[in-house]
Symmetry: C2
Subunit: 270 residues, 2 copies
């Protein structure tokens, strides 16, 4: 595999673009091929079997595009299907959960960490597992927040109702005296400012996207796959539905990067 081959990234929909943003900053020479499964979003309330089936289809598609490595830019897939996917594919594959847990373990002083995510990610218990493996003294407090994804997709960010929903999900969590809070879903960084306001400045918000992109860089280096010399070829974006809406959403996330509806390709699996 050549180091000038593209890297693949995928998510259940548009949230993974918060990871793409970090990749663009930290790995400016890499060409990114992104797939968002917007026809079947959200994954967060689905079963492991269904999530694995969908992720496998997408990874095969990315491999067909010639990618040299894949970043699973979706917490739900990383939580419930990553080990299976790593076993099935022979290129480097990394998820967002382990780097996110590592960053949280490094940021806490009190050892009391909160995790918010989709129902599937929370039920998997994977953040708790990784955190406790890093340090058995750590106590983890979890909360599923199923309405955050539809709120973000509806564009209700700076909004009194959104603040109330944030309080409703997080007020009890905060009472556990956590000092770090993992944003365990790629949509949640878009609510970052409102969440910070709700939980107060004493709690550090951990965005796994940053740490994951850093770790992805190490993985590429280790495997001799980092593209150090060439300028990146143009990124490519695929979705299973709704190219125009995806381009709109991307414009809000990828500050300064222009994405037109025409540059987003529809590719469905049905």
């Amino acid at each position: 595999m050549s180091s000038i081959a593209p890297i693949g990234a995928f998510d259940s929909g548009m949230g993974g673009l918060t990871v793409v943003k970090e990749l663009m900053q930290q790995l400016p020479n890499e060409q990114i091929i992104y797939y968002g499964d917007t026809a079947r979003v959200p994954y967060g309330d689905k079963s492991k079997e269904t999530i694995l089936t969908y992720a496998r289809q997408i990874m095969n598609f990315l491999v067909d595009q010639g990618v040299k490595a894949i970043i699973v830019a979706c917490n739900t897939v990383s939580a419930v299907a990553l080990e299976d996917l790593k076993n099935e594919f022979d290129i480097p594959v990394i998820g967002v959960v382990k780097p996110g847990a590592k960053a949280a373990a490094e940021s806490t002083h009190t050892g009391r960490i909160g995790v918010i995510a989709t129902r599937a990610t929370i039920n998997s218990g994977i953040y708790r597992d990784f955190l406790c493996r890093t340090n058995p003294e750590i106590e983890v407090f979890q909360q599923a927040c199923p309405l955050f994804v539809p709120l973000v997709e509806e564009g209700w960010i700076d909004n009194e109702i959104t603040d109330m929903i944030i309080h409703r999900y997080l007020d009890d969590l905060v009472k556990n005296n956590i000092d770090s809070l993992v944003l365990g879903c790629t949509h949640y960084p878009l609510l970052r400012d409102r969440i910070q306001l709700a939980v107060g400045d004493g709690i550090t918000l951990v965005n796994p996207a940053f740490e994951t992109s850093r770790e992805f860089k190490y993985v590429l280096e280790e495997n001799g796959l980092l593209n150090e010399n060439e300028a990146a070829a143009p990124h490519r974006f695929y979705v299973s539905d709704g190219a125009a809406r995806f381009a709109d959403f991307a414009a809000r996330i990828l500050n300064g990067y222009t994405l037109t509806p025409e540059s987003v390709t529809i590719h469905a699996f049905d």
Copy 2:
């Protein structure tokens, strides 16, 4: 086709059970085969092409189960794909939109009607078309309410936040002096009491499920397919994901009808 064959009903997920409830009451001799596409819910923000692909797969599946007629218990599918589906299948197929529009046209005194539904249904303009065809004097005021489905699926029904979201979507709509409001998504009847409280008693809420079941009965009669003599065989429920959650949800909707996780069968198309 024999009149003792079952009838088919389907929805993007669990909302169509509000239609099943009406069918059970109005057509007690009929065996129902229900399909809920819970692995790919929601449809409301998806494109026509994707919705048509999914609906076609489900209808083929129901036909394979030997159904004599199909009720499209989903406003989004009825709005964007019904004509195509009717042309492709040679058994009677009816949707929820036309009967719903008819009921609204009959209920209004002022000729000012509100319609709330998913984004796909609203964008199709189909309620407005049917209403204006019934009576060109009717004025239609529409509002997409994308957060209602996730709120219902999260179980936040009697809840201050839900009331605020209802007000946010409906306050401007009500200012148009409507006297009837169509609940143009099969999930919405579950918010009926809270919506009535928000809009006031002067507005009649129209639930297309009732009218659609009545029309479905006529269609069966016309085609000599009404099962008048035999007791119904046991109903069958299929979903593409999450049998236990579906059974839970069904228990809340189908008062008195017992549905266990074991009696719900997973059937996915991927």
